[in-house]
């Protein structure tokens, strides 16, 4: 579970880097779409694993929080994939993804 949430933090941080380059017009559309799809699929996979793993009742809350984070991260990545020419959205996604990466890291450390 800990590794799964760390993985979410990693994906979010990496997606933030991608969003930063996208916001500055320093990337290629195909790269954003393909690599974004890999990261988005990985987020979904991690969320499914968190959902399916049997956990103690006291861990239910953080797990739900992590699954929510996974959905947010995946959503932001998918936004970038759908409209990679939208730099303004990418700038906003970058800020959100950095924030979620920090949140996921704190969540993993707290477990």
């Amino acid at each position: 579970m800990h590794a799964g949430i760390e993985q979410l933090a990693s994906i979010s941080a990496e997606s933030a880097l991608m969003a930063e380059d996208l916001a500055r017009g320093r990337t290629k559309t195909t790269f954003v779409r393909v690599h974004g799809a890999e990261l988005s699929a990985q987020t979904e996979h991690e969320a499914e694993k968190l959902n399916d793993d049997p956990v103690a009742p006291e861990l239910k809350m953080p797990i739900e929080e992590a699954i929510k984070l996974a959905a947010d991260i995946g959503g932001a990545i998918d936004d970038m994939r759908v409209s990679p020419q939208d730099r303004e959205q990418a700038r906003q996604d970058e800020v959100k993804l950095r924030h979620w990466a920090g949140q996921a890291n704190r969540l993993a450390e707290a477990l």
Binding site: A13, A16, F31, V34, A101
Partner: protein, 406 residues
């Protein structure tokens, strides 16, 4: 002048040909997780491949015996068969990883369905290998693989703390299984056996004579050492871009992102181009290595310098290797995961091919005055000891860390 030019071209091809998917994956992960702390493992691996390649090149040139000729002769049929089967399996896994890697890079460039691109990659590679002569193949992939030098530029451009970088080159130890796993991975990624089988058979393909021994030494020492700089650059770039935000690289796209972060779209395109030709070249070397090992062990006619109908079983063997790799990758297995298995299993099997080469390189019956001298013997045996330790540790570490997952 012509000789200097020839040496320079060989070295450039060796630099571009040094990096394969193993380096792209392990070095990026090592830099992201441990920043510069694993840099020292690169020279350890690079010196190892220099020692091994120089010996195999010299043995092939002087005695006319490539690696699996030596394995069969020195280890005999039974131990030789075990070595052959292990090598063929590892070659196949590595080839599948490289073909899958090439397809992923093509997908990052063109956003087309990956299954189609696997087919395109395999057909493209088979056509190049079939129609282009041996020297041309080395040059196409070696020179275009040099686009990866963008990582060297990026490593400088990202302005790392050079004091910390230099400290990373001093061997250090952490009592952590994950750290030890990455040490094995970084060393193993540099010491891939298929490159050596290819190199020694290449010496015979290129019809080297004792007059080419200086070329052999230059190619091995300068080519692999300069290639090692690419590995160091990959670690430094990953350390600069991915360490602070705690990114755990699990895709080839992550490696490309490092170059993009330094140089934008141009950096990304150069990185992807370099990766495409580096993994494509490695795929060719793997397929050839599989065919070389099989043909040399069984005594069949072999060589790209022969027309296909003059070495038919060799020709069919490399084609079948590509076909098998295609089937493996089309199952949907993750090429990055395959790479990790390939590198770790290569390390485990390496002493089986290293030892017979070391033994014949010191045998004056076959090598005459070109047998290992004091320096080559010392390095040869030192690296045999290192290889034994690394090969014994590899599987337990892979299990203990769940393949580097922590």
């Amino acid at each position: 002048m012509k000789k200097v030019f020839q040496v320079a071209l060989g070295i450039i091809a060796a630099i571009g040909g040094f990096v394969d998917i193993g380096e792209l994956v392990f070095n990026t992960q090592a830099g992201a997780v441990y920043r510069y702390q694993l840099l020292w493992a690169v020279p350890v691996g690079v010196i190892g491949i220099v020692v091994f390649a120089e010996m195999t090149g010299r043995v092939a040139t002087v005695s006319g015996r490539p690696v699996f000729d030596v394995v069969r002769m020195r280890m005999g049929l039974n131990v030789g068969l075990v070595t052959l089967v292990a090598s063929l399996l590892i070659n196949l896994i590595t080839l599948a990883a490289e073909v899958g890697g090439a397809a992923i890079v093509l997908q990052l460039l063109f956003d087309v369905n990956v299954s189609t691109l696997i087919l395109v990659a395999v057909i493209g590679l088979v056509l190049i290998v079939y129609f282009v002569p041996f020297g041309g193949i080395e040059r196409i992939f070696g020179y275009l693989g040099c686009a990866l030098l963008v990582y060297v530029a990026a490593a400088v451009h990202l302005k790392p703390d050079w004091h910390h970088v230099s400290q990373g080159l001093i061997p250090s130890w952490h009592s952590s299984a994950l750290y030890a796993y990455f040490v094995v991975g970084v060393i193993g990624a540099a010491l891939v056996p298929y490159e050596v089988y290819f190199y020694s058979s290449g010496a015979i393909e290129d019809r080297w004579t004792v007059r080419d021994l200086s070329l052999n030494r230059a190619n091995a020492v300068l080519g692999f050492t300069l290639g090692g700089i690419l590995s160091i650059a990959l670690i430094v770039v990953a350390g600069e871009v991915f360490f602070a935000p705690k990114v755990q690289p699990g895709y080839l796209g992550t490696t490309a992102l490092g170059a993009q972060h330094a140089y934008g779209e141009a950096g990304l395109l150069l990185a992807l181009l370099g990766m495409l030709f580096a993994v494509g070249g490695a795929a060719v070397e793997c397929a050839f290595s599989g065919a070389y090992t099989l043909a040399q062990f069984a005594g069949w006619e072999w060589g790209k310098y022969r027309r296909p109908r003059e070495a038919p079983r060799f020709t069919l063997a490399w084609m079948i290797f590509f076909a098998l790799a295609f089937v493996v990758v089309e199952t949907g297995v993750d090429p990055v995961l395959l790479t990790e298995y390939a590198v770790i299993l290569s390390v485990v099997a390496l002493p089986l091919t290293y030892l017979p080469v070391l033994l014949i390189a010191r045998d004056r019956t076959f090598m005459g005055e070109r047998a290992n001298g004091l320096l080559a013997s010392t390095f040869g045996w030192l690296y045999f000891a290192i290889l034994l330790v690394v090969s014994l540790a590899a599987i337990p570490l892979m299990l203990a860390t769940d393949g580097g997952a922590g």
